[in-house]
Symmetry: C2
Subunit: 477 residues, 2 copies
């Protein structure tokens, strides 16, 4: 093993092979559910170093067939499915890409930016904005997550209703394959039909098929203005009707559509009493809408007003406010973003990241609420999410009088079963935007079609026969 | 062999296994470049029949290891790269999916429609429109091509600048795998991160990894209006500047941006003298712009006027007209769509379907024009295409005094080499929207990166070890 570590030191420099001291920033997952043990944390500076690291590990494995040495690619380590931290074998090498954080080029006429995998998402957003463009991927961890991680797990976030997931924002990749070769697939092309779609195969594969080292991303012109509205709706059905109206009235201007349940909002009001939570007291759900307009604020406001008027007439909105200032808009988004924090303040809970077709959301929520209430009297549901793209964070909190840790220990399997069975019955997905990692790999075995799993395994074995790349994640070899 | 044909007859009915008479509708490619010989043309009625056909062929191959029986999936047979017709071995079965043309469901709240692979593209467009929605895929062959073919080769067309390629319009697939299993991957989900992106792997694989039998497609609200403008521009650089302005002024309203060279337009004027071709006489290029607006025609017109004013001020438009009526708009599109026909009237020519980053288009055109003119004095260039997404149909016509057939025979390899080398030097793709088929499979071997080809071959071998699915297309096993 020492030979391998020496080799890695020779590649990246001794100071970038960490083996001692507190390594928990790299070995503990974001939600602190697991704490692994790494053989080393290696921090390469460039794509060639990544390729040499992979070759060194592959050679070591060939020479030592009994060894379990493998690689765990890591960006900002903000993932939610335990996909970027080592297991407890002490044989996994964390390959952290944060030193590779250069923005290589911005091509204004082509509306693209090419960045290294270790770039912080917010740095890419800011670089684009400074040049007059929008890079629309936006999510809670944007201040610390990296583009490589975003693409590795096909991150979603709040702008998906208009711009799609990380996958939809990527035109080309540079990837180090499991043999340590470099695929120079960076491309600013919007049309390229020369063979299989390797780009999308690597995106979302969570580092199990190769290591994304750089990407060419789509940019959009900065909108002239972004307006935010907050609407109370009488039911989830009404929220879905409002979404349809918003598509028709705002067209591609609709860049955000978030739904929030009354209990979720009450937790924000309770735990962040300096924040004013509007309109939630009398209605089961509120919706946050964002309208991005390339013309002007007054045009955006007129559009919003016409939408809300139509929605009130249709009975799907009972009350609404349009933010009068940027500060007010930010406050509305803050309320939305504080829900997970408020929930944590309230105590441990069981999180879900599920999606169903938008049309099935009301039935899904009704059926699942009822089943949980009947199985666990007094259970509390923190339901919120990106309704615009069918993605709910349907979280389950212990009854008020019950110990949260005890609740998790005893009820998590049952709660997951009820929620996931209901998701499947409604044509949905048990992981909408967070990915699989090791957290959901067993669930996948149960819920994913056998044909799909067989195909995934065949691809994994064909591209990574040594099982060197993030083994045990996404799909068991 | 007879046993296999009997088995196929038992599966689909005797009348749907065609072996005699004129089969050229299925065995000759659209551009009549090649005429193959089929063992049979088989026309299944449903997904289960497709699965049984594949199983029957796979079994036959297992029992007869020397046999070369294989399957060629086919939709409307309008492809341009000889990908959906049999070779001349007489051992390939054409699996034509046109009987599978049901529209299964339209989900208005989810903005999706689920259709079988054999649906004609135009039928899907019309079904969507009747329900108040837009299915934006649009291309010249839309009256006869099928959705299965569109997805199989990831078709592009004229709306890509706003809506992306066929790939970007598909949320889920039903696929029969090379083992005859059915992957039930139909899904109306906009977020689903449960494993590798099999959908995008099948899309664009041209039937070499499995047979797409149905798809769930994205719908958009119908725009309130679509306006068309026609602008003369002084150079290709000016056209690119105009594109940037159009993105800023029209936002997501910009749904079409086509460039047409003066010689291309002169051929339309010459061969279709009933069509008035505007503004082309004095300028090297014209641009066709489409603005889709969810508000009103007057709003769209004001947007266009503000854009064209800014463009004239910037010097990138010298003259322009905005269509005053739907008829006038249709005529402008007709001029654009007649270019390939006018070119055919003028004589045989060498067609290219290439893309480069939008920012590189002026340099690419200048360099390639010069190289061709120097290699073949008097050569004529029919240059037009979807500038909005970097895709040019950069076609090469014989000098006026030269026999076209002779030109093709003697000059095609040299012309292809000059064009493709230049494409690669400018970071482009030698097949932007038409695919690879058998026409470009050798070119790919030369121009595609070895790492990508190796990865593609590994996937093909892993998923189709018998090489049963459209062998010899896209990538040689």
């Amino acid at each position: 093993m020492h030979t391998l570590l020496h080799e890695l030191q020779a590649i990246v420099g001794r100071q970038h092979v960490l083996t001692e001291g507190d390594l928990s920033a790299w070995t503990q997952d974001w939600r602190k559910r697991t704490h692994g043990k790494a053989l080393a944390v290696v921090r390469p500076a460039c794509t060639n170093e990544v390729a040499r690291i992979v070759k060194a590990c592959a050679s070591y494995r060939s020479a030592h067939p009994d060894s379990r040495v493998s690689l765990v690619p890591q960006g900002g380590n903000t993932g939610l499915v335990v996909g970027s931290t080592p297991d407890d074998s002490g044989q996994q090498i964390v390959l952290n890409l944060q030193r590779m954080n250069a923005i290589r080029t911005l091509d204004a006429a082509n509306l693209t930016v090419t960045v290294e995998a270790g770039c912080i998402l917010q740095a890419v957003q800011e670089h684009a904005q400074a040049a007059g463009f929008l890079f629309p991927l936006s999510l809670a961890a944007e201040g610390s997550c990296t583009i490589g991680g975003n693409l590795g797990c096909n991150a979603g976030g709040t702008q998906v209703v208009r711009f799609g997931n990380a996958r939809d924002l990527c035109l080309g990749l540079e990837v180090v394959t499991p043999t340590g070769d470099i695929w120079h697939g960076l491309s600013g092309l919007r049309k390229d039909n020369t063979g299989y779609d390797l780009r999308n195969l690597y995106i979302g594969s969570e580092g199990t098929l190769g290591i994304i080292t750089a990407a060419t991303l789509k940019l959009y012109p900065l909108p002239a203005t972004q307006l935010t509205a907050w609407a109370a709706v009488p039911s989830m059905e009404a929220a879905v009707t409002l979404l349809g109206l918003a598509h028709r009235h705002l067209g591609a201007g609709l860049t955000g559509f978030e739904v929030m349940g009354q209990f979720a909002l009450s937790l924000v009001a309770k735990h962040f009493d300096q924040l004013r939570v509007p309109l939630y007291a009398d209605w089961p759900f509120c919706v946050l809408l964002e309208n991005s307009d390339h013309e002007s604020e007054s045009h955006a406001r007129a559009q919003f007003e016409s939408l809300l008027e139509a929605a009130m007439e249709a009975g799907c909105v009972t009350d609404a406010v349009v933010a009068e200032s940027l500060t007010q808009a930010k406050t509305l988004w803050q309320v939305r973003e504080r829900i997970p924090l408020a929930q944590a303040e309230e105590g441990l809970n069981i999180k879900h990241d599920i999606s169903v077709p938008v049309s099935a959301i009301p039935a899904f929520v009704k059926a699942t609420d009822a089943q949980l209430a009947s199985a666990i009297p007094g259970v509390r549901l923190v339901n919120f999410g990106h309704l615009g793209d069918g993605n709910l964070h349907y979280n389950v909190q212990a009854p008020e009088d019950q110990d949260a840790a005890e609740f998790l220990r005893t009820q998590e399997p049952q709660v997951n079963r009820i929620v996931f069975d209901s998701v499947m019955a409604h044509g949905g997905s048990i992981s909408a935007e967070h990915g699989v990692g090791s957290l959901k790999v067993e669930h996948l075995t149960h819920y994913k079609s056998a044909v799909a799993l067989h195909t995934m395994r065949a691809i994994k074995q064909a591209l990574d026969p040594q099982n060197l790349m993030n083994p045990g994640r996404v799909v068991r070899a």
